[in-house]
């Protein structure tokens, strides 16, 4: 009997040698005359255990990791093909505590299926959501999404159903669905994992959005730093087209939906939706004034749904299992689950999908295992380069949009970057301004000029020049950027800057007890 062996094709797994491991396993199996089939799955998200190799058994899949090429002969010697013990043996994958404690809805199939096999997708409840959606009117689909409480997972947390409803209500001969896959926040990789590990769920979510609002063309705006995701998405789109899940007549419904991947070109600001639309139109990614909203005048001036990858990938399960099923997860006004990405200086980095409400401390210590360097965790940045730095005293904050707003922080796209006690927070504040200067589109003055002046002022503070005056200046500058910028890039750069200054004043040459807001 053929034994199935799973070795990820996810780019993070590849970054620590998954390709070489796959080649070595295939060669060793051939040499020993063993009948094995190697399936290149997505990552289960336990990145410290990559390359994680799994073998199928009648009881479920058994995992080994982290496997390096040099371990391959000994794995065969130990008869891992029959799930026998070995130093790297991790037991049944589904029984690994780290996975068992999670609530994987959006990520249910990631790491489990062959990402480019449509049959595998369908065998794991794929396309149930679209089939249900095709029995409903556009308004009924939109109502289901609204009732689920799903909010934009890109960072802004705007209710997805309300956005869709605006597009649905617009009369137009052409509408678009645009997926924002320009995942540029440091510490985030959940979009990438979906696109590399379960691309069909994104395709299905976009198709449902198209059917709901009457859009016939979709674009995935994919960052150029993700070459592997590009390949996987294009393979999946081709398979969906061939099988009639995309095209002029989606599943014989008479409705058309076409999908194309467009490559971004390395501009962080193009993750801002209006800048993204400019870029898709072939222009410089300059931020647009709002109104008009993209939902009314979006791509090429037409009504456009613009949603993040995770928002769209969460739609199929909502249409499959119902709005209430999804809304039953979470707390307050944050309904459903959030795929959290642990990054930076942690022992166990990876993807943790949980209902809203878990605390940072649980994520950093129960899942993350504390710092990788063994030193105390001094600060964490949540929500990417525009997110606030949080000190240890705020680690008990539950992950919930409103709870984070209360402490002047953001959840953003769910990335958590941990720093140990060697971090210099004035340097991080400087970097925040520097990043803004590199990435500013240049349209508005507070962002374009403020970011460069910010770097200079922080440099003066760090060298002790006119210290008190420059501390005040950085606060004034932040106030201008916060209130005067056109989009979140300039408008949120003060979050990392001021949170660093307020929570870690000693790094700016101020007494530790100064906690001025």
């Amino acid at each position: 009997m053929t034994t199935k062996i799973y070795i990820p094709r996810d780019s993070s797994a590849l970054s620590v040698g998954a390709e070489k491991v796959a080649t070595a396993v295939a060669a060793e199996a051939k040499k020993r005359g063993l009948d094995v089939e190697i399936i290149r799955n997505g990552s289960r998200g336990l990145y410290w255990l990559e390359t994680m190799v799994e073998v199928s058994t009648p009881d479920g899949r058994v995992a080994y990791g982290p496997v390096k090429v040099k371990d391959v002969p000994s794995l065969f010697d130990a008869d891992f093909v029959n799930a026998k013990p070995h130093a790297l043996h991790l037991g049944l994958t589904e029984e690994i505590d780290w996975i068992k404690k999670q609530q994987r809805l959006t990520f249910a199939r990631v790491g489990v299926t062959d990402p480019v096999s449509l049959d595998d997708y369908i065998a794991h409840d794929g396309y149930n959501g679209l089939k249900n959606a095709l029995k409903l009117t556009g308004a009924e689909i939109v109502k289901t999404v609204t009732d689920s409480g799903l909010r934009g997972r890109g960072g802004a947390a705007f209710p997805t159903g309300i956005k869709w409803n605006t597009v649905l209500g617009c009369e137009s001969e052409q509408k678009y669905v645009v997926c924002n896959a320009d995942e540029g926040d440091s510490g985030t990789y959940s979009d990438r994992m979906i696109m590399e590990g379960d691309p069909f769920v994104l395709i299905e979510g976009m198709t449902i959005a198209g059917v709901a609002v009457g859009a016939t063309q979709g674009y995935i705006y994919l960052r150029s730093e993700y070459p592997h995701a590009l390949v996987t998405l294009n393979q999946a789109i081709e398979a969906a087209n061939k099988a009639g899940y995309l095209g002029d007549n989606v599943l014989g419904s008479g409705k058309a939906f076409h999908l194309e991947v467009r490559r971004a070109a390395g501009a962080y600001v193009c993750g801002e939706e209006t800048s993204l639309l400019e870029s898709l139109e072939g222009k410089r990614g300059l931020v647009r004034f709002k109104p008009p909203l993209p939902a009314i005048e979006g791509l090429f001036g037409k009504p456009t749904v613009v949603n993040n990858v995770i928002s769209l990938a969460s739609v199929p399960i909502i249409l499959d299992k119902g709005a209430q099923f999804y809304a039953d997860y979470g707390m307050g006004r944050s309904r459903g689950t959030l795929p959290i990405q642990l990054a930076g200086n942690l022992k166990h980095n990876g993807l943790v999908e949980l209902a809203f409400g878990a605390t940072l401390r649980e994520l950093l210590y129960d899942f993350g295992g504390g710092s990788a360097t063994g030193k105390p965790i001094r600060a964490v940045q949540v929500g990417g380069p525009l997110g606030a730095f949080l000190p240890e005293s705020q680690f008990d904050t539950p992950l919930d949009y409103e709870e984070f707003t209360k402490i002047w922080a953001v959840l953003g796209h769910g990335g958590i970057v941990a720093f140990d006690d060697t971090v210099d927070m004035s340097k991080m504040a400087r970097y925040a301004f520097e990043f803004c200067a590199v990435e500013s589109c240049g349209k508005c003055t507070p962002c374009r000029i403020g970011s460069t002046r910010g770097v200079e002022v922080i440099d003066k503070i760090r060298s002790g020049k006119d210290h008190a005056k420059n501390i005040q200046l950085v606060r004034d500058l932040s106030d201008t950027m916060l209130n005067g910028s056109l989009c979140a890039l300039g408008g949120m750069t003060p979050y990392p800057v001021l949170s660093a200054l307020n929570h870690f004043p000693q790094d700016f040459g101020l007494p530790a007890e100064t906690q001025a807001g």
Partner: protein
């Protein structure tokens, strides 16, 4: 600071017919390639970015000398094409070295020692960002997040990502690129 202010002289002869002294590709070939790619992409909605990607994928960069052809085909001004090419970090107007190494400078990688890696790379290769080694083997670029934040620090060599990169791993990558 890594903002490049591209100054650009409209009377420059480079904006006439294509002549590319810094290129290994014969002039006729490059012209033909660009014309073919223009024909292939010009009718797509929002054609400029896909076209620029196609050109850079084929010949390694977007030659400034191609701006007039591109602008004519897409009914844009040369200034608009120049504006787009220089807005995006991904596009380059000069031929890079045989390999392009990108080191991630973002927060997660900083938390895991990317600054040491940056300094090491610059010192070993004796170049700064946006420069190419003397033997033309490697062009060094900064990048802000490769989505490999669980395995920081990260480096990308051409289209391959490497995670948990130590200075000695970097030495090996450099040696391989130079071989």
């Amino acid at each position: 600071m890594y903002i490049i202010v591209a100054l650009y002289n409209c009377n420059d002869s480079r904006f006439g017919d294509i002549s590319l002294p810094d290129s290994n590709t014969p002039q006729e070939d490059m012209n033909a390639v660009i014309n073919r790619l223009i024909t292939e992409h010009q009718h797509r909605p929002g054609a400029l970015l896909p076209l620029l990607h196609a050109i850079q994928d084929s010949i390694g960069y977007v030659p400034e000398a191609a701006y007039p052809q591109i602008s004519k085909a897409l009914a844009l001004s040369v200034a608009e094409v120049h504006g787009v090419v220089t807005f995006y970090h991904h596009f380059r107007t000069h031929k890079p070295g045989r390999n392009v190494m990108q080191i991630c400078r973002a927060e997660s990688c900083q938390a895991m020692g990317s600054e040491v890696l940056e300094a090491h790379a610059k010192k070993c290769m004796n170049i700064d960002y946006h420069q190419t080694t003397e033997d033309n083997a490697i062009t060094l670029e900064a990048v802000y997040c490769l989505g490999n934040c669980a395995l920081s620090p990260s480096v990308m060599m051409n289209d391959e990502i490497y995670g948990r990169v130590s200075p000695s791993d970097l030495d090996a990558l450099i040696a391989e690129a130079r071989a």
